[in-house]
Symmetry: D2
Subunit: 189 residues, 4 copies
């Protein structure tokens, strides 16, 4: 299904190898039609010495239709995986092994994004599945490099990240989630 590539996620491209016990792609397809999946969304930020957000990291990808899209770090929580380990795994997968993320000490997310397969129920939409995603702002202090399927990682100011042109390049409501994150940190333009 070619259009799945439109949607930034851990399933953007098939993962070549899976730890034993994880679902096969077929099993996952079946489950996706029957159960909400647990996801995490991370908004990677650079902060100054006082913790104030300076910039937001957005992944740049080209989908199978050749359209450029921007995305947050996002992905599924695996069986027997803690939320904070899922956050670390997806941040490493997308930003590389030396991003040095500061995962928040509390599991309380700043919001929960409910991605529905039907558009319009919430601000979030995912044609593949119903995903319930816990969203966190995660300061990163190390060297970040786009991995795998991403062309680039761009650091934008909160103002730039919330601007219409950038918002238009974000899919499935992630532009909204980014604005909610900026509202939470007091940096919504």
């Amino acid at each position: 299904m070619t259009d799945t590539a439109d949607y930034p996620s851990d399933d953007f491209y098939p993962e070549p190898t899976q730890p034993s016990g994880w679902l096969t792609d077929e099993d996952l397809a079946v489950v996706r039609a029957q159960l909400p999946l647990v996801y995490v969304d991370a908004v990677p930020v650079r902060v100054d010495d006082s913790g104030d957000v300076i910039s937001v990291g957005l992944l740049l990808r080209v989908n199978t239709q050749g359209v450029m899209t921007r995305a947050l770090v996002s992905g599924r929580v695996m069986y027997h995986e803690r939320l904070r380990d899922a956050l670390l795994r997806h941040i490493e997968k997308d930003l590389g092994p030396v991003a040095l993320p500061q995962v928040p000490p509390s599991p309380q997310p700043f919001t929960v994004a409910e991605y529905f397969p039907t558009p319009g129920i919430t601000a979030f939409h995912d044609p593949r599945q119903h995903a319930v995603s816990l969203a966190y702002v995660v300061p990163v202090t190390g060297d970040c490099r786009p991995q795998q399927n991403a062309l680039d990682l761009a650091w934008l100011t909160p103002e730039e990240a919330c601007a219409d042109d950038v918002q238009a390049e974000m899919m499935n409501g992630q532009g909204m989630l980014l604005k909610q994150a900026m509202a939470h940190v007091g940096r919504l333009p």
Copy 2:
């Protein structure tokens, strides 16, 4: 499996009828060994005119071993169901149709309880499954009556609810979740 009845949940007793499209018990058993499930936990409270918590509602049940247990309102989020609708459904299922719950306007939970099948990873444990449960304090203003499998619904003060004897009757870490809720509302004894 007799011991499943120990664990207060929407699966405490088999549900007689399921809307079409929901998982069969067999399918659910398979999925439970492979994916984290999305849950909600509600801490039902009575508040005074200023919103201050006066008492906490706990369900009293007897499990198949004849042991008395106390529980919060808790249950699975279904496919294509919003979190707030899952909260309403489980509150109605456990407290009756005229409990008049005030579901919070924000989806931000006060915490996320990660129930692992392996004890000791977090404070929460569920031998049946890995559940990620979004926890909310929900004021109820109407008439609450225990439904289905519950013997009673007891309204305890925060002090009583956090006391050792009550905590000992709560399973799977729900006693901890209750204390986290009381800490959140400023009423931890």
Copy 3:
């Protein structure tokens, strides 16, 4: 000082009588130049049965320059007054005695608005003082009537309340605070 009337607050017009022990206007003026004051901001909302925000209540006032402004419920916390009592007092003062507000059970605000006398330090500005305001979304279920100095209380959808024309009528960064509230409840347009 004529321009104080621009700024919606408990000091919009001099309060005729003060409980003993409260500051005189003169004393308050001195303190205002030396200490941050504690404020609360309430975003009054109507919610549906599932707690989802349907509309936001904004007060309409005309300032001394004849300009129409819109405002949230906002005001000072008095000596020896609990935050939840300050919320109730200001809601009653602005929306009348039968608004039936549901003050949240937790003291955790959705954000803290730091109003500085110098513009540009945060999104919030108050030329009179440095105020640290704890902000809450407060569902109201009763009959709301504008009191005192307000011409009207308008119920707007989240979309309308965040629109540029309404935002332009809000002073001191309260438009931003309203957008942060809508982001928090998942209703930012």
Copy 4:
């Protein structure tokens, strides 16, 4: 007044020099009887690579009665000072200049502690004043050394910090605030 020394704060011992524009001790005494003051409380923690709290830093002091007390980092927010700058200032004052605190990106506190001069209104009490304190969990990654009036800085596990003997050494409800912090990060014993 000898007993003020019982209460861990920025006023534990008179501060020798004040930036111009700050209140004199006399002025502050007058204001304290008339207005709530804005405070911040910081719970300094060590976290592991996944952000999970490993230990809590408590300051050890001896008061004028020769009684040993333990305290969080706590202090007043000054006129024209941002909350995050107040947090940094008090952490540096108590833990030294190379503690490397990670002040959270969001101004949303995990709770608000309302210290009343009258005991029993909330869990928090301060005989000197009415203080409204915004409380944050702050990971510190650098070298922490007790400053000024503190004898020691002890790093305790969450279990140790919440134990009765340690709680008994904390004044004014700060033991409760510590437990609320541990509840918030999922580490209440």
